[in-house]
């Protein structure tokens, strides 16, 4: 087990170096934050003065050397726009994004798994296609379109729910629905294929031989086995929810890191952009590793190996 974790960490480290280098150079090609900070009639001297204050002067390679020197000590620089250490800005907003994710996954599973089971039970039949259609609907609807519609219907017209921002539980409903529906298709499909695989196996036959009711056979014996691949989806989905939350956080004014990444790109806030992407990669890698280890507890075959 230890050797495996070590190898994964080493691979992660290489990935981080690659990501950091790419984002450092890519970012600078997209232009300069100073143009966005100066009023449109600023004089050229104002511009050079500001560039100096922000430390963006000097050849790009020197800047890269300084960046690497500081990054090694964990200092990823000050965000130009937020005027605070980029790492701090990231961790200020991270909980807001993370808090949405478990609910979205829960919603995705609550809808996806039953649909998957129903589809597997009626394979090839009408219900299989119906469940498939409902599940795929989540992937088919563009999330920002869905978000805006939900706000219009449930908040403005019906007035049941607040239309945006963080706050009490009622604030969570619409963003979680928007994020969650996107996952339903994934959960449905993996549950369906896992169930089909399990339903053909011998111990299910034995369960029926014991005279257990069909429901117990399906919902206890089969489903419990089908949950193992479902769990590995968490790792994949959490990663995607983090990178993909830009749209939902924009529509629902949710101050998460998705929105932070978008602003960092739009305002060319290089230090913040570099910090966000590096920290995000670390986060996703550790989550994948975490799911792997958690996986051992779900599948007894691994736990005691």
């Amino acid at each position: 087990m230890k050797r495996y974790i070590a190898r994964r960490l080493m691979q992660g480290a290489i990935l981080l170096c690659m990501v950091a280098t790419i984002v450092f150079f890519l970012g600078r090609l997209t232009g300069n934050p100073v143009d966005l900070m100066l009023p449109e009639d600023a004089t050229p001297e104002d511009r050079t003065a500001l560039i100096q204050t922000l430390g963006l002067d000097g050849p790009i390679l020197d800047q890269f050397a300084i960046f690497v020197g500081k990054a090694v000590h964990g200092d990823l620089g000050m965000s130009i726009r937020m005027k605070q250490p980029a790492v701090e800005a990231f961790f200020d907003r991270l909980p807001n994004t993370l808090v949405l994710i478990p609910w979205a996954i829960l919603l995705g599973m609550m809808l996806g798994i039953p649909l998957g089971v129903v589809a597997a039970l009626n394979r090839g039949g009408m219900l299989d296609r119906a469940a498939g259609t409902v599940a795929v609907l989540g992937v088919a609807m563009p999330s920002f379109w869905l978000g805006v519609l939900l706000i219009f219907v449930f908040s403005v017209e019906l007035g049941w729910l607040p239309s945006g921002r963080m706050g009490g539980p009622s604030h969570y409903v619409l963003p979680v629905i928007t994020l969650g529906t996107f996952l339903v298709a994934g959960f449905m499909r993996i549950t369906r294929s896992a169930m089909l695989e399990v339903m053909e196996s011998e111990f299910v036959k034995l369960a029926r031989i014991k005279g257990l009711s069909e429901a117990v056979v399906i919902w206890k014996h089969c489903l419990r086995n089908a949950l193992i691949p479902v769990l590995t989806l968490w790792g994949v989905f959490v990663g995607n929810l983090i990178t993909g939350a830009i749209v939902t956080e924009t529509v629902f004014a949710w101050p998460g890191i998705g929105r932070l990444t978008y602003e960092a790109v739009i305002y060319r806030d290089f230090p913040l952009l570099q910090a966000v992407i590096i920290l995000k990669s670390i986060l996703i890698l550790s989550i994948n590793l975490g799911v792997d280890i958690l996986y051992a507890y779900v599948d007894p075959r691994i736990r005691l190996a």
Partner: protein, 546 residues
């Protein structure tokens, strides 16, 4: 039994205390919630925030050395009641308003003004005009507690305007003793200002909260108890929040305006906040000498081809006005506004027939190729729509327009250097509503400016020379009437060149929930409402008259 007595006693005490609380605090109730597109850098230190951010939320807690003329717009009395220029034009003396205090009780004196201005020019400041201030200001002398003298290296007519929020943010007054006592770091966490609102809380990426000052304030004593700024990037969400009452006011654009008014929200428009313009780059360059855009009358024809009324009616839903000449508004200083308004109404009329005739006369009977760069500051999506509308109108008179779209961040690099990609192009642009026209003209037309629309240092034709001469004269002209004559001359030079042509005088648009906010008037030219919140009444005090 004992517990029962204790509770009733506590209740009695509470009632008495409430009654004794200062009478005025009674009428400060409720929370004014303002949903806004962006909170800029969301920092409460004036030297770290750019113009928009300062004007939106820092304005609430900081006063500016020079203030607003609330009625007409433009410059008015602020922390300094009045100011005068020394006969030689090299020193401005500001006489401060007595009895001003910071939120922690310290008195606001001339020392604070000197400290604030020097801090704006200091090394750590990201203020846009820091370099210019360092260049033009020689030294700042505290004459007495209420008088400050600012000596300049050369006559600076625009200095007071530059220190008022109507033009630039560098005039914010910061507490000297407090900052020196607790240090910059602590100041940024718990900022103190002299404005009508005290700082409460700053949640990054989400909101900033203030609470009202209970003592009277020259900008007006707040009618609400609390003021919250909410960061809501998505416009349709902002409108939804105002409709559900989660927000009292929200900044909107023309797109959502119709929906908002139909849904029963009040739509407020702040007059004279910006001009949507189109301009031609590098028309003076030798390599475009014989191209159509190099000819003045062709450029004028393109202006005549635009039905500004229809753009105002359909793109801006009627909430915009026919423009004054480039970068000038009703409230521009030293400028004969009425004369130029009449000129503009006639010059910017819709006359496609004449336009076609001019094109034919100039040798382009069936039009010509024109490349048109369409771009817009973040949050002003309607600029793209205006660009699309006028491109369509130009095609109607035979001009074959190729529209190329640029994200705002990617446009400035094209202007700098040899402007290779923009020569002979038309492009959408905008100019912010400001009372001092010369600064904007210099930014667009002087040979050293980034845009260099008249010509650069090497080839500056006679109009360009004429402009530089007029601008230099304006810089040192102390006499008011002569200044007006010079400004009119400069405006005439630019307007007749048809290189920069205003399309419409745009407005700031806000959706208001009349059950949450009472009637109030914005400050002309002041797109961000920053200096208005303290005068906004509660709905029960002054309901919106239909």
């Amino acid at each position: 039994m004992l517990r029962h007595i204790v509770t009733t006693a506590a209740l009695a005490v509470a009632l008495v205390a409430a009654a004794m609380a200062p009478a005025q605090a009674q009428d400060q109730k409720g929370t004014l919630v303002f949903a806004v597109e962006s909170l800029g850098a969301q920092t409460l230190d004036p030297i770290l925030e750019g113009r928009p951010g300062n004007a939106v939320y820092q304005a609430a807690m900081y006063d500016s050395l020079v203030g607003f003329d609330f009625a007409k717009g433009g410059v008015g009395p602020g922390v300094a009641e009045r100011w005068e220029l020394s006969p030689d034009g090299l020193a401005w003396t500001f006489y401060l308003r007595p009895g001003q205090t910071f939120h922690n009780g310290d008195k606001l004196t001339a020392h604070d003004v000197k400290f604030s201005l020097e801090r704006q020019m200091g090394p750590g400041s990201l203020a846009a005009a820091a370099a210019t201030m360092r260049r033009t200001i020689k030294n700042i002398e505290v004459v007495d507690d209420l008088t400050v003298k600012v000596r300049t290296t050369s006559p600076q007519i625009g200095l007071p305007a530059g220190l008022s929020r109507a033009v630039a943010p560098e005039g914010a007054i910061m507490p000297k003793t407090y900052i020196e006592k607790v240090g910059e770091e602590e100041f940024r966490k718990k900022p103190i200002g002299s404005g009508p609102w005290k700082f409460v809380r700053n949640v990054p990426g989400d909101r900033i909260e203030f609470t009202a000052v209970t003592t009277p304030h020259w900008r007006g004593r707040p009618h609400f108890k609390d003021l919250h700024f909410l960061l809501v990037p998505e416009e349709s969400t902002r409108v939804a929040m105002v409709r559900t009452g989660e927000a009292g006011i929200a900044s909107i654009g023309p797109e959502t305006m119709l929906g908002a008014s139909r849904a029963g929200l009040e739509v407020l428009s702040v007059p004279g906040t910006m001009q949507a313009i189109f301009q031609f780059y590098g028309t003076w360059r030798p390599e475009v000498k014989d191209s159509p855009v190099a000819k003045v009358r062709v450029r004028q024809a393109l202006s005549l081809a635009i039905d500004r009324k229809q753009v105002i009616e359909h793109v801006m839903n009627g909430k915009a006005r026919m423009p004054h000449p480039f970068a000038t508004f009703g409230y521009t200083d030293f400028f004969s506004a009425e004369r130029w308004k009449k000129w503009a109404d006639e010059a910017y009329r819709y006359d496609p027939v004449l336009a076609k005739k001019i094109l034919a006369e100039e040798g382009y009977p069936n039009g010509f190729e024109l490349k048109f760069a369409n771009t817009a500051l973040p949050g002003t999506q309607f600029m793209i729509d205006i660009g699309t509308a006028i491109a369509d109108m130009w095609t109607k008179i035979g001009v074959k327009v190729t529209l190329k779209h640029y994200e705002w961040g990617s446009f400035p690099p094209l202007e700098r250097g040899d402007q290779a990609q923009l020569i002979g192009w038309a492009s959408m642009y905008r100019t912010a509503g400001r009372p001092d026209a010369p600064w904007r003209y210099n930014g667009g037309f002087s040979p050293e400016s980034t845009q260099r629309l008249f010509g650069d240092k090497d080839n500056c034709n006679e109009t360009c020379q004429e402009f530089v001469k007029t601008y230099r004269a304006l810089g040192s002209e102390l006499d008011r009437t002569k200044r007006t004559v010079l400004t009119d001359k400069m405006v005439e030079l630019v307007s007749n060149s048809w290189i920069v042509v205003p399309i419409l005088e745009g407005m700031g648009y806000y959706a208001i929930n009349t059950k949450k906010v009472g009637q109030f008037a914005p400050i002309a030219g002041r797109h961000e409402l920053g200096d208005v919140f303290e005068r906004i009444p509660r709905p029960e005090q002054k309901p919106w008259k239909k």
